[in-house]
């Protein structure tokens, strides 16, 4: 069944690369993009994705803050934090949110970890 994934990252290149790897594994999935946490929250109000990848360091609110708000409002969304900022404190924060932190760079392997988490529900 076709799924919908929201990719949240201020780097257009990262959004493109994540999207390419997702499409390669699941050509029928619908991909949405947001360049900030605020934009992601606004998008989700109109259209609920099944899955979401969330960067941390972005203009505006931190990705972890956005993830917290999204998961509080929509606990059924499967979300991973996808960031180069892999400090233990952020890994702990991800765990407290009930999700995981996947380390950049964006590669087939790192996107594969996210997909595994999404589909392991």
């Amino acid at each position: 069944m076709s799924k919908k994934i929201l990719i949240v990252d201020d780097s257009k290149m990262s959004r493109i690369f994540i999207g390419q790897h997702v499409k390669a594994a699941h050509p029928d999935w619908v991909i949405q993009e947001a360049g900030s946490g605020e934009e992601a929250i606004a998008l989700i109000e109109n259209e609920l994705p099944d899955f979401c990848t969330m960067d941390i360091n972005m203009p505006g609110m931190l990705g972890t803050q956005a993830a917290k708000l999204i998961l509080e409002a929509h606990p059924d969304i499967r979300l991973v934090i996808f960031s180069a900022n892999v400090q233990e404190s952020y890994q702990n924060e991800a765990r407290e949110l009930g999700t995981i932190l996947v380390a950049k760079p964006v590669t087939q392997a790192s996107v594969g970890l996210a997909l595994e988490y999404f589909l392991g529900a």
Partner: protein, 197 residues
């Protein structure tokens, strides 16, 4: 009071950063790397001591805050920037397309390398570090030296070479330059002492 790091502190810090950037560099598909750090006194820097042998560089700047504050630069020669972009984005993209996305792509590459180094420092010393979004520009080697010299309170410069090999091509050398100020030196020395006990 001016704080400078002892050789032992520097070696510990360099080892931590190396571990982080090494992990990030190896994370790139088909990219491997290794690095050999060295440090300089700010007063002694010029294009020769910084080993800026090329005329122009693509420079990613990122600041970090928290218990430790400072600035990090990631440098690649203009020639290597073009090569990295071509390899990252594919042969189909023309020169105009590469120019359009250069700032975006190099900013993200720099962001990954800087954050990997900072994350390693934060975890090793049990502190939290936040970083700003990246800023990418092209500078001449002389301008880079001037920019570093104009930074207030900077005492030491830690330089890490980053060697990228893409698809078996020649090594593409870059540098991660960390500007260490008085407060940073004092805090890092204390944290290193604490972590050793």
């Amino acid at each position: 009071m001016t704080e400078t790091l002892s050789q032992r502190h520097f070696e510990k810090l360099a080892k931590i950063i190396n571990r982080g950037t090494g992990r990030a560099v190896q994370g790139f598909q088909e990219i491997i790397g290794e690095s050999q750090p060295y440090w300089l006194e700010k007063n002694g820097i010029d294009v020769n001591t910084l080993q800026l042998n090329a005329g122009n560089y693509g420079v990613v700047e990122q600041e970090f805050t928290g218990l430790l504050n400072g600035k990090v630069l990631v440098l690649f020669t203009a020639e290597n920037v073009q090569c990295i972009l071509q390899k990252m984005l594919g042969d189909e993209m023309d020169a105009q397309g590469l120019n359009d996305i250069e700032s975006e792509a190099m900013g993200e590459l720099g962001n990954i390398m800087v954050n990997a180094g900072l994350s390693a420092i934060a975890d090793s010393l049990h502190v939290l570090l936040e970083s700003t979004v990246t800023c990418y520009k092209q500078y001449s080697n002389d301008t880079i030296v001037t920019l570093i010299q104009q930074e207030n309170n900077v005492e030491n410069i830690l330089v890490t070479h980053v060697n990228l090999m893409i698809s078996g091509n020649a090594l593409l050398g870059g540098k991660l330059i960390m500007l260490l100020n008085n407060e940073f030196n004092q805090e890092i020395a204390e944290k290193i002492e604490l972590s050793a006990t």
